[in-house]
């Protein structure tokens, strides 16, 4: 396992960077130009006071875009991985929170968002589970990048290898 990882680590790191970076870039890009929607999507979670939720809704897409770009081009990978892991954990917590409180919403993960018809409860709960699984997967990939940030096709060239970190 360790030997296998050592052999292909630089490739794995590249794949992890592209997957997380790609998801963040798409998710951020779809929301950044519909700011009002993104802001009400965050407010729909009813966790933060509305005004603060709106500001977060305006900021989050741009943050996702910035982190996504850094991961894809390979600059400050470890730092970006920590940031993306942290936002995944926040997303997971937010979805668990709405689920536990029985609120039915569209997560607004890739644009859209807001309350959903109560008749669709079962469907929404299934979606929550899928979203948690997806974000958990992305968080684990981010964790991998934290330990092995140096891979193929990075803009940032690092003299030292992973073993020495």
């Amino acid at each position: 396992m360790v030997a296998f990882n050592q052999k292909y680590q630089r490739l794995f790191t590249l794949v992890a960077r592209l997957v997380i970076g790609g998801v963040l870039l798409v998710a951020g890009g779809l929301k950044a130009f519909v700011p009002a929607e993104a802001a009400s999507a965050v407010a729909a979670y009813k966790i933060l006071p509305t005004q603060i939720a709106h500001i977060l809704g305006y900021a989050l897409p741009w943050f996702e875009i910035a982190i996504g770009l850094l991961l894809i081009i390979g600059v400050a990978v470890r730092l970006s991985a920590m940031a993306s892991g942290a936002i995944m954990v926040v997303f997971i917590a937010a979805i668990i929170s709405v689920w536990a409180r029985g609120i039915l919403i569209d997560c607004g993960c890739f644009g859209g968002g807001g309350a959903i018809d109560p008749s669709k409860a079962a469907e929404v709960h299934r979606t929550y589970a899928i979203e948690i699984a997806r974000d958990l997967g992305l968080a684990l990939l981010a964790l991998y990048l934290y330990f092995f940030p140096y891979g193929l096709f990075s803009v940032e060239k690092i003299a030292i290898t992973n073993e020495e970190m």
Binding site: A39, W62, F63, L70
Partner: protein, 237 residues
Amino acid sequence: MSKQAKAANGGDHFTRWLVIGMVALVVVTGVVFSITSSSTKAAESFTALEGFTKGEAVTATINPAAGSGLTLNPGAPVTIDLWEDPQCPVCRTFETSLGEYIETMVRSKKATVNYHVLSFLGPESVRAANAMMCAADEGHYLDFHKAIYTVQPELENSGFFSNENLVKIGDYVGLTSKTFTDCVTQGSKLDLVKAHEDSMPTYKVVGTPTVFINGKLWERTSNGFDLNEFRLAVEAG
């Protein structure tokens, strides 16, 4: 620690701050862009009300037997109960698709409509609901209701439904009396707003828009709000 490693470490710190700075810059620029484009939209929405003509006055009574709903045109063969929140975007879609039909049914005395103005989406819903009930006192609930959905901002509780703006919406609709403006600014109907909100559990209403036709929940089968489907349901009673 070798010299090289130290240099790498120092370089790492520099990169870190550079990266944090760049990310912060992108985020701040984005937020400024987003807020500006949102507020321009809100200001533009009033233009949609230019040339608004109000219809004939329709008396609204408060019906304690129907959760304190605002009853328009009592005694018609079919009764529609409509539960809405002035800030709810789906209620806006509902209004766009079916509002005109419902208004015609009221004005032609074919249906009794009980309007339940909910306000669970926050303080601006409460203010807007209060103003809608003030308009009901003037006999222009239908007109004001239509105007509210015409200008409804995309964003909930963005500051748009302030008392000042609600009075301005009244201006466009043609509600300029001091009774109306005082009612809006003083929140004279807040008790009634609360009564509507509190009656939700009695009728098992959990979301908006919710429609009852002759006391029976309308369960739509189409994805949007289909006028024909709704008309058939109303005609069937």
